[in-house]
């Protein structure tokens, strides 16, 4: 079995605190988690339970207060060394893309950062846009001329263009309409089958999460209260909080 893409070991994140670092707030409390290549872990929980913080940890954006984070079996290092290996898709479609860049340019950006020659880039962008179900003409459009679903597709295209090993989706579909949500969810599933990236799918919508995830972690006040196979959430989950969430989709 290959090494997990992301391997968290008793990770703790403390925010703020007074002038001398006292009295901080533990947003993530000693969490351990492994995400295998090609696997999606869903993360659900109420607002403020620490989901986003955990996502930032997996991306190497959040300094740890204690614990370790390993990426593909190695220490994480600096973000710059991991160029092209990680991606993220966030909530708010209207903030997902730089409104001043044409969509093609946005999708291309990670390749530019990687230092890929321009000729090669062009072909990759066109192919990627097609992959997410947008015709090549979208490359020339500005985000303002796109619907929310289309924007989120472009954001996904940008996230996938470097064929990363790991992607975080933080509330990536929460702001979308049901119909569009289904489009995007299907897209992520298809692309994962094809590219085999590991993923962390953060949402407070259990229905969408269990549709897309292999495993689901339920977070409550900075801790996992339940981690189980997604199929489990079609039956009766163990933890009362999980059951409460289930009630909303019946």
């Amino acid at each position: 079995m290959p090494a997990p893409v992301v391997d968290l070991d008793r990770v703790v994140v403390t925010y703020g605190g007074g002038l001398f670092g006292r009295g901080g707030f533990q947003a993530v409390k000693a969490i351990s988690l492994q995400i295998a290549p090609g696997q999606t872990v869903g993360l659900v929980g109420e607002s403020g339970s620490g989901k986003t913080t955990l996502g930032r940890v997996c991306l190497g954006l959040q300094p740890l207060s204690s614990g370790t984070m390993r990426f593909c079996g190695e220490a994480f290092g600096a973000l710059r060394q991991r160029r092209g290996q990680l991606s993220v898709v966030l909530q708010h479609p209207e903030w997902a893309l730089n409104p001043r860049l044409r969509c093609g340019r946005s999708v291309e950006e990670p390749l530019v950062i990687l230092g890929m020659p321009a000729k090669e880039r062009r072909g990759r962008v066109a192919a990627m846009l097609e992959n997410v179900g947008l015709d090549a003409g979208f490359a020339e459009r500005f985000p303002g001329q796109l619907s929310g679903g289309q924007r989120q597709r472009v954001a996904i295209a940008r996230a996938l263009i470097t064929e990363p090993r790991f992607i975080v989706f933080d509330e990536a579909v929460s702001a979308l309409d049901v119909s569009v949500q289904a489009q995007v969810l299907n897209l992520i599933r298809e692309l994962q089958d094809r590219h085999g990236f590991g993923a962390l799918f953060i949402s407070h919508d259990l229905a969408a999460t269990r549709y897309i995830s292999h495993r689901i972690a339920v977070m409550y006040q900075g801790e996992f209260v339940e981690v189980a196979e997604a199929a489990r959430f079609y039956g009766t989950p163990e933890h009362p909080y999980s059951r409460k969430l289930m009630a909303t989709i019946e």
Partner: protein, 277 residues
């Protein structure tokens, strides 16, 4: 550009038109048959407005109209140079403060506070005293007075942008901080900067003319609208046209800038009202 023009109301359009007119006048003024602004003794001293001297003559017998036209250019040019320099510095500092946070933010924010807690005109007096009166120190004064404006706005807009998806995505993709700032942040704050720029320009024009009025701005015979006012104010009751004409043109110029600023802002971040019924 034209779509912006179409969206703004009549008052703003008037201001924009006035601005264009004044700038054009300042630019082509020297080529218009208005007379020589420098010619001492071109007419009798302190004569009231006439066909020959539409704004009258000053105490050295110079025709005042071409001097006012010259003053428009001087005032605009100096303030614009000052404000643009300041905008560049302020934008950079504000972006660094907002994006990096931490110590950089503290230093920049405290610096801005210190500058801000000097009343502009006091700072102006001090700077003009240190550097000697003249255009350079007027530019410095305007910079000191308007720098906090840019820093504050850019910093807060940058802070707001920092958590946006495209910024985070770029960071995750491994972009260097400078790349993020130049490619992703800068183009998105430029609107806010432009709005500040117009306001700073009007503040700059007020400061420039106030300094000139106190005798600390550009030096005679170079004439900005403020120094013309100072010149005329010695003859306020006897030759009021000197103060009235230069004062009116100065006020009109500042108003044109202000109204244009309003228009730009309304176009960039429209504030719709709501009726109370």
């Amino acid at each position: 550009m034209f779509s912006i023009f179409g969206r703004i109301d009549r008052l703003s359009r008037f201001g924009f038109g006035l601005l264009v007119f004044l700038i054009l006048l300042g630019l082509i003024g020297p080529y218009l048959p208005l007379g020589d602004p420098m010619r001492i003794g071109a007419g009798p001293r302190l004569s009231s407005p006439s066909w020959l001297f539409p704004f009258g003559t000053d105490e050295l017998g110079r025709s005042f109209l071409p001097r006012v036209v010259d003053g428009i250019r001087a005032t605009f040019l100096l303030s614009a140079v000052a404000v643009i320099i300041t905008a560049i510095i302020g934008t950079l500092l504000g972006m660094v403060a907002g994006f990096f946070g931490g110590v950089a933010d503290q230093v920049v924010a405290r610096g801005a506070d210190i500058l801000f807690s000097f009343p502009a005109i006091l700072a102006g007096l001090l700077i003009a005293a240190v550097m000697g009166p003249g255009q350079i120190s007027a530019i410095a004064v305007i910079s000191v007075a308007t720098l906090p404006l840019f820093i504050r706005v850019v910093r807060s807009v940058t802070l707001g942008l920092a958590s946006r998806g495209f910024i985070v995505a770029a960071q995750v993709a491994g972009a260097s901080p400078w790349r993020v700032m130049i490619v992703h942040i800068l183009p998105n704050i430029i609107g806010a900067v432009i709005v500040q720029l117009t306001y700073a320009l009007s503040i700059g024009m007020i400061i420039e003319s106030a300094l000139s009025f106190l005798g600390l701005g550009g030096q005679a015979p170079y004439a900005s609208l403020g120094s013309l006012l100072r010149q005329g104010s010695a003859y306020l009751t006897f030759a009021p046209w000197l103060v009235l004409s230069s004062g009116a043109v100065l006020s009109a110029a500042i108003m044109a800038v202000n109204l244009t600023g309003d228009a730009v802002r309304d176009a960039l971040e429209p504030l719709k009202g709501r009726s109370l019924t």
